[in-house]
């Protein structure tokens, strides 16, 4: 469009070539001549239309009865709710199609409560709509801002306060007060933050597999989760997957915290399916162990597709290729899952001779 009227909202004068009736319609805000207003005028409130209940006392009475019945319904709902609470035993189950939770007490209390509350509301709204005045009222708006005098008075009061306190006159007070106010909040904040938690130290880079957690100097066995039984290399058949935890983890001080870092998945592949020499070396006859904690944001990677040898994280679908050192082949994770180097002890059980060579789980700044 070419014209919209000039900045202040005034209207473009008509083109000469057009008469007073043949107005160009594409220009907007065109002023006609001959006393035609520039814009339509607000016609004012439309005439009020009376409701049935305003004219007909019978209709009004009917409305009153309707409202009262809704209130009575609510009263009945509340009473029924009380009865349901006291009469129905807590564990009574019933079966209702399409409803997952068939606890009778829950259903009865809930439905009666719904009736008790809903019909108060329905009654009140119906009352307002049928019996209360429905003629719209007009209230004027007033400018929000204060008058210039009030603003000046405010500025004066501020200036007088400043003068009385001699704030501007004594910069020393101003500066020291600002300093004191600026600093006083810091000690409480330091107290709060300082008391919150231990420093991370190397905690994120260690797991319960590390030698510092070994009991009597023995490398921990790989244990089935949750049975906590050791695993013989011969138990691990091709295609199977074991959820594994380090031996002794349940006796640690905070088993959940340790599990969140030390959980491992154990799988067996045909050695010649394995594409990475390091993976083969750190495994045992095609048995490989990888951290179960996703390198994305830390969900347990728990879905193993036997045919493709892919590990899938259920949280955001990062997919790791077990045949290729658990590199990411799809999804938002960046790093491969760390591998746990395993061996077999004298009795034929799988053990981990070292902890992980790198931090498990999500990335963080100083992980390297």
């Amino acid at each position: 469009m070419t014209t919209h009227g000039t900045p202040d909202g005034a209207h473009t004068p008509m083109n000469d070539e057009h008469g007073s009736t043949a107005v160009r319609l594409d220009q907007g805000h065109i002023q006609g001549t001959g006393g035609i207003p520039a814009q339509f005028q607000n016609p004012g409130l439309p005439p009020h239309v009376e409701r049935m209940s305003d004219i007909d006392p019978k209709a009004a009475k009917r409305a009153e009865l309707q409202v009262a019945s809704m209130f009575i319904l609510s009263i009945l709902g509340s009473l029924a709710c009380l009865v349901a609470y006291f009469v129905i035993p807590t564990h009574q189950q019933i079966w209702i199609p399409a409803i997952e939770n068939g606890n009778l007490s829950h259903l009865a209390i809930g439905l009666t409560l719904a009736i008790s509350t809903f019909f108060i509301g329905a009654g009140a709204v119906h009352w307002a709509k049928t019996l209360m005045p429905d003629q719209e009222v007009v209230e004027e708006r007033h400018p929000l801002h204060s008058t210039p005098e009030e603003r000046q008075a405010f500025a004066r009061a501020l200036a007088e306060g400043d003068a009385a306190a001699q704030l501007s006159r004594r910069p020393l007070l101003k500066m020291t007060l600002a300093g004191a106010l600026g600093l006083f909040a810091i000690p409480p904040i330091v107290q709060l933050v300082g008391g919150l938690g231990p420093l991370p130290g190397d905690d994120l880079s260690t797991t319960f597999w590390d030698s510092k957690y070994w009991t009597n100097g023995k490398a921990p066995r790989l244990m089935r989760d949750p049975e906590m039984t050791p695993i013989k290399a011969s138990d691990v058949t091709i295609g199977s997957v074991f959820h594994v935890l380090p031996e002794g983890i349940m006796d640690s001080e905070h088993p959940l915290d340790e599990k969140g870092k030390a959980a491992v998945l154990l799988m067996r592949l045909h050695p010649d399916q394995i594409k990475s020499q390091k993976e083969r070396d750190w495994g045992y006859h095609g048995i490989v162990a990888y951290s179960k904690i996703c390198t994305h944001v830390g969900c347990p990677v728990g879905l193993y597709e036997q045919t493709t040898h892919h590990l899938l994280c259920p949280c955001h679908q990062s997919t790791f290729d077990v045949t290729d050192d658990c590199k990411v082949i799809f999804g938002p994770a960046h790093r491969p899952l760390p591998q746990l180097k395993i061996a077999v002890d004298a009795e034929g059980y799988l053990i981990a001779e070292h902890g992980f060579a790198e931090a498990v789980g999500p990335s963080f700044w100083e992980r390297g």
Partner: protein
């Protein structure tokens, strides 16, 4: 004063005045209170305040009521819930979990669900109320946005609303994490994962917040005090300020006959609005109670206690966290760099800790950006119809589209399995859609708005189509159009003309031409972008012309040709 009100009491303070002015008991109590507070004046003022009526104004009310319901049921829950990660063996009446090791938080939530009579109902009302709270806030925000209700003088209330929306989300997430079931723990684990990606201080931040290693035993009690004390206090405080500002500004209204920028047309708080709004509280309560009794949400007993090694397939957060989850899924994995022994995972950081506040910062900033573009410093108490503010509406729809793409991306696995598509393809589709979708949405919305504007013009110029076909004497057919009455017409011709920019007045006050500054020119460009397609409302002169002009057919043709030529 024509009628005696209770504040008549103040005048004499004599016993007889008091008794005569308040013959009823309620009056006597009111008099007692007013003698000590002087509240009657203010209360009367508030009771007679006028509120305009429109269904879309109820969205904010729904938010308010679901918040109140959530607050009340939350207090109930505190009486049984034990905010502790301390370990216990479950011994309650839910058989499948008997003997299982779990946290006290989880055990007490099971206790509420199975052994406190009506306890499950309270939990369900709390959770459904929380969901409705967030939904209602979002819908309320849409209403405010698309009608331009945030314009001067209501920018502060828009900012407060933005903060409320964000806090509601965080409050909901904190609550969702409390029961310490498998899903809530998995959500917390992800949150811990993205906090770890904060550059330099990530691990410190996490260890301070969680009191050490994840999950630790500190996070549940800490989240508890955030959930039941800190955030509710801030939310209630902001909400009070929000309401007070609504009172101070007086509610906006849709344009219509008799409604102007200088008045409010509606019903008084007492009795009509009290009855309608108060009644509406109970309606919302009733509906939440109904849903809560029929549809189970967060059946934590099915998930089991949190265990960092237990796998949850198809785990989904509460709906309002979906967009952040989707952003994490779409972010490609190469968004991590390592240098000199440090790792910076900017992708995850962007998709989570940056995205969430960014959404709210953009939202909060919008009114100010628009004001800068339009140069509009007037007070606006009349709402705009979304179609008439085509660019704003299109921007809004584009933003919603981007949000929805992320939200649907959070279900990429579900979509993949249900439609038997490759998840790789779906993820790529969403990645591209995230950039293309909003542009497309902008364009389409704008076209629709302009078409509606044109249709409005048509209707004013030629009246309503009656569906009656009339045959003229010379054998031509045309449809009879009935002219609009002035009340109907007014809806289609109101609208404040845009404040165009004072750019071309490139003269200073001495009348010397000065070149427009760079920022002014930039602003003018944006203003053109904002207004260029807008079709101004019909003027009386145009209507007269159209009526004179043989059913106005030529005139219409002229509009259209005029438009096409000027657009080239």
């Amino acid at each position: 004063m024509s009628t005696r009100t209770t504040d008549g009491l103040r005048a004499g303070d004599s016993r007889s005045a008091a008794t005569s002015s308040s013959s009823t008991k309620a009056g006597a109590i009111a008099g007692w209170v007013d003698d000590r507070t002087g509240l009657a004046k203010g209360a009367r003022y508030i009771m007679s305040k006028v509120f305009p009526d429109h269904w879309s104004f109820m969205l904010g009310e729904v938010a308010m009521y679901s918040m109140i319901i959530t607050l009340i049921t939350g207090v109930f829950l505190t009486f049984w819930f034990v905010p502790s990660a301390g370990h216990v063996e479950y011994n309650g009446s839910y058989i499948p979990l008997k003997g299982v090791q779990m946290s006290e938080a989880y055990a007490s939530t099971l206790h509420i669900s199975f052994d406190v009579r009506g306890g499950l109902l309270i939990r369900q009302i709390h959770h459904w109320g929380a969901l409705l709270f967030v939904v209602a806030i979002v819908c309320h925000m849409f209403r405010v946005f698309f009608t331009g209700a945030y314009r001067k003088p209501r920018e502060i209330n828009w900012l407060i609303g933005t903060m409320l929306a964000m806090l509601a989300l965080i409050e909901g997430f904190a609550g969702y994490s409390l029961p310490d079931d498998l899903l809530s723990g998995t959500g917390l684990r992800a949150a811990q994962g993205f906090m770890l990606t904060i550059p330099v201080i990530g691990s410190y931040f996490v260890y301070f917040l969680f009191g050490g290693t994840f999950p630790g035993e500190a996070i549940i009690p800490r989240l508890y005090s955030v959930h039941i004390l800190l955030l509710p206090a801030i939310i209630v405080g902001l909400f009070a300020a929000h309401l007070i500002l609504v009172m101070v500004h007086k509610h906006t209204q849709y344009p219509g006959p008799g409604r102007t920028n200088e008045n409010v047309v509606g019903f008084r708080l007492m009795p009509v609005y009290t009855a309608k709004a108060g009644g509406f509280f109970f309606i919302v309560f009733g509906i939440i109670a109904l849903i809560s009794s029929l549809f189970s949400i967060n059946s934590i007993w099915n998930y089991g206690p949190y265990d960092p090694t237990a796998v949850t397939a198809g785990s989904q957060p509460d709906w309002y966290m979906g967009f952040a989850d989707g952003a994490l899924r779409l972010m490609p994995g190469w968004t991590e760099v390592s240098f000199g022994g440090f790792t910076f995972t900017y992708g995850i950081l962007l998709g989570s800790l940056v995205l969430l506040p960014l959404v709210y910062v953009l939202m909060g900033a919008y009114p100010f950006v628009e004001q800068w573009i339009t140069g509009d410093q007037r007070e606006h108490h009349l709402l705009e119809r979304p179609r008439n503010a085509d660019t704003r509406t299109a921007i809004g729809v584009a933003a919603i589209t981007a949000y929805c793409v992320l939200w649907f991306a959070a279900g990429n696995d579900i979509i993949a399995t249900h439609l038997s598509l490759s998840i790789n393809d779906i993820t790529w589709f969403f990645r591209i859609l995230f950039f293309v979708g909003p542009l497309l949405a902008f364009w389409v919305t704008k076209r629709i708005c302009l078409a509606l504007q044109r249709a409005d013009r048509e209707k004013v110029l030629h009246g309503r189509e009656t569906g009656e076909i009339v045959r003229t004497a010379d054998g031509r057919f045309y449809e009879r159009h009935e002219p609009l009455d002035e009340y109907t017409r007014w809806h289609l011709v109101t609208g404040e003309p845009p404040v165009a920019l004072a750019l071309d007045s490139g003269t200073d006050h001495n009348g010397v031409r000065r070149p427009a500054s760079k920022s002014e020119r930039r602003r003018a460009k944006w203003a053109r972008f904002f207004y260029k397609d807008n079709i101004p409302p019909v003027t009386p002169a145009e209507l007269i012309a159209a009526q004179h002009d043989g059913h106005g057919h030529e005139a219409v043709a002229e509009i259209e040709s005029g438009e096409t030529t000027s657009r080239h």
